[in-house]
């Protein structure tokens, strides 16, 4: 397809938080990850514990990996590149040294280069969607990106804000919860999964899109691609270099575990059941 204005960069933001599912089956967060179910089930054996000072959860020693929705975002970016609709895919992640592993995974999937925005220690603990979106907005201007694709939300904090905030800061259109995206000339047709069903919109580039579950099935990085990824570059940037202040405006007052599940009561007959429900004021 011949296009008059070529999309230069597609930047994918990768969230490297852990899969912290509070001991509940992962399906409640990631309801339709049917082909990933086994993988996810094995992960639930990381027992999530609240820190003794109740300011957050324990993350030491918990294996962190790419957020599943971000994997879908990276896959979509690479698909666009394979269709020759975009020229370059840049994978970006904000966090400490370990996020480089996640960027490498994106490179092994087919991204061209990576950017690691270094945020560590206390700053990383309080890093939230507002700061990330500011970093991203600054990067987008610097790199002259035409399209930003992110996962719709992170499965650890479930914020579902970063994509929307980036669009607002840049004053770009946004297509969130995308289950389909098609590039048509300089517009992106996005099919969005909304409460009432599916909504189709057309947004002008440059734009922000957030990936939902049914957008695609992410590929495995093949062994040869993992080897090739070693030669791809990951640039190091600090938030200060982008003129972004990562200081959080939010203060976590406390973090508590969900209440313990109370034991149920067994009844012998249906009449007993109805009687008990009436007693409890439920009927």
């Amino acid at each position: 397809m011949h296009r008059s204005s070529e999309v230069k960069h597609v930047a994918s933001y990768l969230n490297t938080r852990g899969c912290e599912c509070f001991g509940q089956p992962c399906e409640s967060h990631c309801p339709v990850l049917t082909d990933r179910t086994i993988h996810v089930q094995l992960k639930t054996f990381i027992k999530i514990r609240v820190k003794p000072d109740r300011t957050g959860v324990v993350t030491d020693g918990v294996k962190h990996s790419m957020n599943p929705f971000c994997e879908i975002a990276v896959e979509e970016a690479i698909k666009l590149k394979e269709k020759k609709l975009v020229k370059e895919v840049v994978a970006v992640s904000c966090g400490p040294q370990q996020v480089q592993e996640t960027i490498r995974t994106a490179l092994a999937m087919g991204a061209d280069r990576g950017i690691h925005v270094e945020v560590s220690g206390k700053d990383y603990e309080t890093l939230g969607p507002l700061q990330v979106s500011k970093i991203f907005a600054a990067l987008a201007k610097k790199e002259q990106a035409d399209l930003i694709i992110l996962g719709k939300q992170a499965i650890d904090d479930d914020c579902n804000q970063t994509g929307q905030m980036i669009a607002a800061l840049l004053d770009w259109p946004q297509g969130t919860f995308a289950s389909e995206m098609t590039l048509e000339a300089d517009k992106m047709k996005v099919v969005r999964e909304v409460d009432g069903g599916l909504e189709t919109i057309k947004i002008k580039l440059p734009a922000v899109v957030t990936a939902d579950l049914r957008l695609n099935t992410p590929r495995y990085a093949t062994l040869p691609n993992i080897m090739k990824a070693k030669k791809k570059k990951i640039a190091n940037v600090k938030p200060a270099d982008l003129g972004v202040d990562v200081c959080s405006r939010l203060e976590v007052l406390k973090v508590d575990e969900p209440p313990q599940r109370q034991a149920g009561v067994k009844v012998e007959t249906v009449d007993d059941l109805v009687g008990k429900l009436k007693e409890a004021g439920r009927v």
């Binding site: 086994i38 993988h39 592993e101 995974t105 092994a108 093949t222 062994l223 040869p224």
Partner: protein, 416 residues
């Protein structure tokens, strides 16, 4: 280090007090343990993900039906998880044995039947990798990298397994060809291979030494006269294709001889030094699976008011399984590392294979024990592990042959 130097001094003194040449026992070499490189970690992670997401769910039905897991093998091939050790100039990745072992352990965690079907490729290819000339390598290894093809290692016969020198398949030179007649048995991938590595006797003289009587050939599977038998129904690793193969007047061009007439025995045995560590890695993967399944169950099942993991009898079972798995892993890693350094690793490879095979069986049986009555039942994953584990004490050199090799190596070093 202080203790080590004391040992060294004592060793030197011992040597000085006895007659004979002083020779440095390799055990005193320090093995510098370092973390896996980033690339090794990524390879391991890819294999791990693939095994847990795609092999684990599919394994029970392949075990029940015995169907060859070609879709899984094709997928693994697409991801580059097979044929890693094919040299780069033949289209492969030229991975060392250590890296291949990391991948093999993860695949075996998923299903050792699938992993054996894949590993048979390595075994079949190894004689060509170590002894093939450029033309043979490009032709037979190259095609494995271009398409998801299988190959097989044809040495065992109905009448000769451990006693390789006792094989009776005959290859007679007629002009520019060899004519082969004989029977092979228990050939993994026998019915699916595109080509075989074949060992046959070329010198009929019974007095001819083993090191000169046999020749290694590459045989295209579609050569007239090659007749794979029926798929054998085995106790475990049931989706792996194991068959007898009859060779009736099969003509092999002389270009397909590896090195030359009479060099076959050494090639066939030499392949084992490189393939035993991955087999040990496979057994370790099975043992790891047994440990994980048993641990998961022990943290769910309750008896006498507690999780069974909180009863010492069970937690001790798990502890011993953990000990065995960790040690088996270190053993195969040492064997793989030694051969990657360019050293002869026969001693370590045999130790790794013997130990891993034995502990795989012990851990699988212990896992069934932890599961109790449920463990005996086919709805739970551990009875399959027990059935699959047994072959690790048999193929690629029986447990008894490994002990023969280890004692020979050990006594040989001692006598020096």
């Amino acid at each position: 280090t202080n203790l080590l130097s004391q040992h060294r001094i004592q060793h030197i003194l011992d040597m000085m007090l006895t007659t004979g040449k002083f020779d440095y026992h390799p055990n005193t070499l320090f093995l510098n343990l370092t973390e896996l490189t980033d690339q090794q970690k990524e390879f391991q992670e890819l294999a791990r993900k693939f095994a847990r997401e795609e092999i684990v769910p599919a394994a029970p039905s392949y075990d029940r039906s015995g169907e060859y897991p070609f879709p899984l093998i094709k997928r693994a091939w697409e991801l580059g998880l097979i044929n890693g050790h094919i040299p780069e100039d033949c289209g492969g990745m030229g991975l060392g044995i250590f890296d291949s072992c990391l991948i093999t352990e993860q695949l075996a965690f998923g299903c050792t039947g699938v992993q054996t079907a894949i590993e048979a490729n390595s075994l079949g290819q190894m004689p060509v990798i170590i002894a093939g000339n450029d033309a043979q390598k490009k032709k037979y290894l190259g095609r494995m990298a271009e398409e998801p093809l299988m190959c097989a290692y044809c040495v065992t016969e109905p009448g000769a397994g451990s006693d390789v020198a006792g094989i009776k398949t005959r290859a007679v030179k007629k002009g520019d060809e060899y004519v082969v007649n004989g029977q092979k048995m228990w050939i993994t991938n026998g019915g699916k291979a595109n080509w075989y590595f074949l060992l046959a006797r070329t010198d009929p003289d019974p007095k001819c030494p083993t090191s000169r009587a046999f020749t290694g050939f590459i045989v295209e599977a579609d050569t007239p006269g090659v007749q794979p038998g029926r798929k054998e129904l085995n106790m475990g690793q049931r989706c792996s294709d194991t068959r007898g193969i009859t060779f009736e007047d099969v003509r092999i061009p002389k270009e397909n001889v590896l090195i030359g007439e009479g060099a076959g025995f050494k090639i066939a045995m030499g392949a084992f030094d490189k393939t035993r560590p991955p087999v040990a890695a496979g057994a370790t993967g099975l043992a790891q699976r047994a440990l994980e399944e048993a641990t998961k169950y022990a943290l769910e099942r309750k008896t006498f008011g507690k999780f069974i993991a909180e009863h010492q009898a069970v937690s001790f079972l798990l502890a011993e399984m953990a000990m065995k798995v960790e040690l088996a892993r270190m053993a195969y890693q040492r064997a793989a590392w030694e051969v990657d350094q360019g050293r002869r690793n026969t001693y370590y490879a045999s130790i790794a294979k013997a130990f891993a095979g034995d502990i795989a069986n012990q851990c699988a049986a212990d896992a069934v024990q932890v599961f109790g009555g449920n463990g005996f039942n086919s709805e739970y994953p551990v009875e399959k592990l027990m059935r699959d584990a047994k072959i690790y004490q048999i193929y690629e050199g029986t447990a008894q042959i490994q002990r023969l090799i280890i004692s020979r190596e050990h006594l040989g070093k001692f006598k020096q």
